[in-house]
């Protein structure tokens, strides 16, 4: 660990006599980090409340309503858990990439690719396969679809060093465009052909529709929990995960250690893309039951970044954070009934991510007020 360095420059430089000292912390404890992030969560709701007040709404009423809509009944809980599943998966997808220092923001596009592939598998294989096999086929197809889409960013990154932020972003829009084309721009295999005047996705066969157990959660949630566990173990207990963490801490160290970065980048992207793809597949099987662009393109990939950041890039922490974010998301539709713009939910997500990003400063540095001697000028 590096020794703490001390900044007295601010009070030394002469022009600004700011009585604040910033010190780099030697090491930061995990619980402290988590605590700072939870404070950031609360702060985001506080800032959201100010926005609601400015718009003339009573934030306490709105938040009580949101709480009811998220947890108040078994139906509410089911909606929350339904929104949780894709967020666990996109949160994991982002976690895997970010842990290696690959700033992929492509979970959105990979989720869409997974939905398209998953819906295709459901429509083709669903009628002829028994339910468990049909669901498995959809999951595998969705994973492959997402992984393939991620590869489009991974290969240029691995071979030419093409900035992954740029390529993943552009590929998000391309994926969205393709999905829109399949439903709105053409009479494709995915489109419901019984009603030509009203473009909509063809409903997937019943064998691939997930039924909730106990009326509350479905197989998609179990799958996502299992994947969270697998990702956590893979990061901690496998050579692949060890090498990923080494490369994330220091790309140079990884290369000295002889880790093949080309293969590594592609495999990490593929795993990340597969996770996001499965998010798309389960979303189709448990929420939309068809390739439905308007319901699928709701920024689940971007919210995955919020989840991963709040969860400190820890796969197991992704689960509870995704649950909180899922609760938040599932309240959005009910807000408009209540006369409040559902955009409040997006605003709160944005503020959460900003607060968490800013809070890192207070985790990495210690800020102290220092005494300035009178007449030190």
């Amino acid at each position: 660990m590096t020794a703490p360095t001390v900044d007295r420059a601010a009070s030394r430089s002469g022009r600004w006599h700011i009585p604040i000292t910033v010190e780099q912390r030697a090491a930061s404890r995990f619980l402290q980090q988590l605590g700072v992030n939870l404070v950031a969560l609360v702060l985001a709701f506080g800032l959201g409340a100010i926005l609601l007040l400015m718009a003339g709404d009573n934030p306490l009423d709105v938040y009580r309503e949101m709480f009811d809509r998220a947890f108040g009944s078994s139906r509410a809980l089911r909606e929350t858990l339904r929104s949780t599943t894709p967020l666990i998966l996109t949160g994991l997808a982002v976690t895997v990439c970010f842990r290696m220092g690959l700033w992929s923001i492509g979970a959105e596009g990979q989720l869409i690719a997974g939905s398209v592939a998953g819906a295709a598998a459901a429509l083709v294989l669903g009628p002829s396969l028994p339910a468990p096999l049909a669901v498995a086929a959809v999951v595998i197809a969705a994973a492959l679809g997402g992984a393939a889409w991620a590869t489009l960013a991974a290969v240029p990154r691995a071979l030419f060093g093409t900035d992954e932020v740029v390529t993943t972003l552009m590929l998000n829009f391309v994926a969205l465009g393709i999905m829109n084309y399949l439903i709105f721009g053409s009479v494709s295999y995915w489109r419901d052909r019984t009603n030509p005047g009203f473009p909509a996705g063809k409903v997937i066969p019943e064998s691939t529709q997930l039924d909730p157990y106990f009326g509350v959660f479905d197989a998609g949630l179990i799958l996502s929990l299992a994947l969270a566990l697998i990702v956590a173990l893979a990061l901690r207990r496998t050579v692949w995960g060890y090498q990923l963490r080494v490369a994330g801490d220091s790309r140079a160290a990884a290369s000295y250690a002889g880790i093949n970065s080309t293969r590594q980048i592609i495999s990490v992207f593929a795993v990340s893309g597969a996770l996001a793809g499965v998010a798309g597949g389960t979303y189709v099987m448990s929420i939309t039951f068809a390739l439905e662009p308007r319901a699928i393109a709701v920024n689940l990939g971007f919210v995955g970044i919020v989840v991963a950041a709040v969860a400190l890039l820890k796969p197991l922490l992704v689960v509870p954070i995704a649950f909180l974010m899922g609760a938040l998301l599932s309240t959005a539709p009910s807000l408009s009934i209540f006369g409040v713009s559902p955009a409040v939910v997006i605003v709160i997500q944005g503020i959460i991510l900003l607060c968490v990003a800013g809070a890192q400063f207070f985790i990495r540095y210690r800020v102290r007020i220092t005494r300035v001697e009178v007449g030190s000028r």
Partner: protein, 312 residues
């Protein structure tokens, strides 16, 4: 393709590209100072909605544009505080600002009486020169048929180019973005320069957003930027942080985005959903080819790296 179709297509390409010219030139200033502002998409939306609100309330597109610029500059201060003072990860902050800008602009659009999103704009920017001039061969439509914001964007591009390469402050700006430690040692206010140029970049993105509501669409709807802000940030990289090259790239983007218009004039019929993919696909492919061919990047060496005086 006959000349009339070509000229009309170019005119549309210019107006479609103008928001990107404005936002991109501003992003050049920000990135030259060493801050990567991925939040442009969100900043543009803030400018777009606030400009539309003011114009539909006052009837003055100029007032709308001014407010768009100011609101966006204020919004971009979030980026400055987090990226410069709190040394946050700039990719995460950028994504957060896009989410926040998207949500906040939609929220603002639901406010007012009648709500901004339901208003119709009676007054938008109109061409500067009289109609009769527009029909002059070639120069008429290409150079003289535009609205004041297009001319403003040309002036802005020229000023940015001159400022970065021909002025002392511009040289300081490049130094701050290239090697903040040396710039600091030479007595330059690194954080101050970064704050200032984040604000300028935000203001320009706001103007770009304002152009969407006050001219290009003359309407406000949620997430209307549809990726334009992201494109602006990326074209800055492709233009090697030079505003004149950015102008060309932005108009190329405008031409590709408005290809549907051209094809319609030619009587072709291609689904709009496919055409909508095209600009993003092209930028993706160009990025891959450029990085495959590139030997040496002209990127500001300290782009997206927070500067911490004590850890140098």
């Amino acid at each position: 393709m006959n000349d009339w179709v070509l000229i009309q297509s170019l005119v549309v390409a210019v107006s479609t590209g103008t928001p990107v010219v404005l936002a991109g030139s501003g992003a050049i200033l920000t990135q030259r100072s060493g801050v990567l502002d991925l939040g442009v998409e969100g900043t543009m939306l803030i400018g777009a909605v606030s400009g539309f609100w003011v114009t539909t309330s006052t009837g003055s597109p100029v007032a709308g544009l001014v407010v768009a610029v100011l609101a966006a500059a204020v919004f971009s201060m979030i980026q400055a505080v987090l990226a410069v003072s709190l040394r946050a990860n700039q990719v995460v902050v950028g994504v957060a600002l896009v989410i926040l800008g998207s949500g906040l602009s939609s929220f603002i659009g639901s406010q007012g009486d009648p709500p901004v999103a339901r208003r119709f704009s009676g007054s938008i920017f109109t061409p500067v020169f009289p109609e009769s001039v527009h029909d002059w061969p070639a120069v008429g439509p290409l150079l003289l048929s535009h609205d004041p914001v297009v001319y403003l964007s040309w002036a802005f591009v020229a000023v940015v180019q001159w400022y970065i390469f021909r002025t002392r402050t511009g040289m300081h700006l490049r130094a701050v973005g290239h090697d903040p430690a040396s710039a600091d040692a030479a007595g330059l206010p690194v954080s101050g320069m970064r704050y200032l140029h984040v604000a300028l970049g935000g203001a320009a993105a706001g103007a770009g957003g304002g152009y969407l509501t006050l001219r290009l669409f003359s309407d406000w709807f949620d997430d209307m930027t549809a990726g334009m802000g992201w494109i602006a940030v990326i074209l800055v990289i492709l233009a090697s942080w030079r505003s004149l090259r950015l102008l060309v790239a932005a108009y190329a983007f405008g031409a590709i985005s408005s290809l549907g218009f051209t094809l319609q004039l030619l009587g072709w019929n291609i689904p709009t959903e496919l055409l909508a993919i095209l600009p993003f696909l092209v930028v993706y492919l160009v990025m891959v080819f450029v990085s495959a061919a590139e030997r040496r990047s002209q990127m500001p060496a300290s782009l997206a790296e927070p500067y911490f005086r004590e850890s140098r």
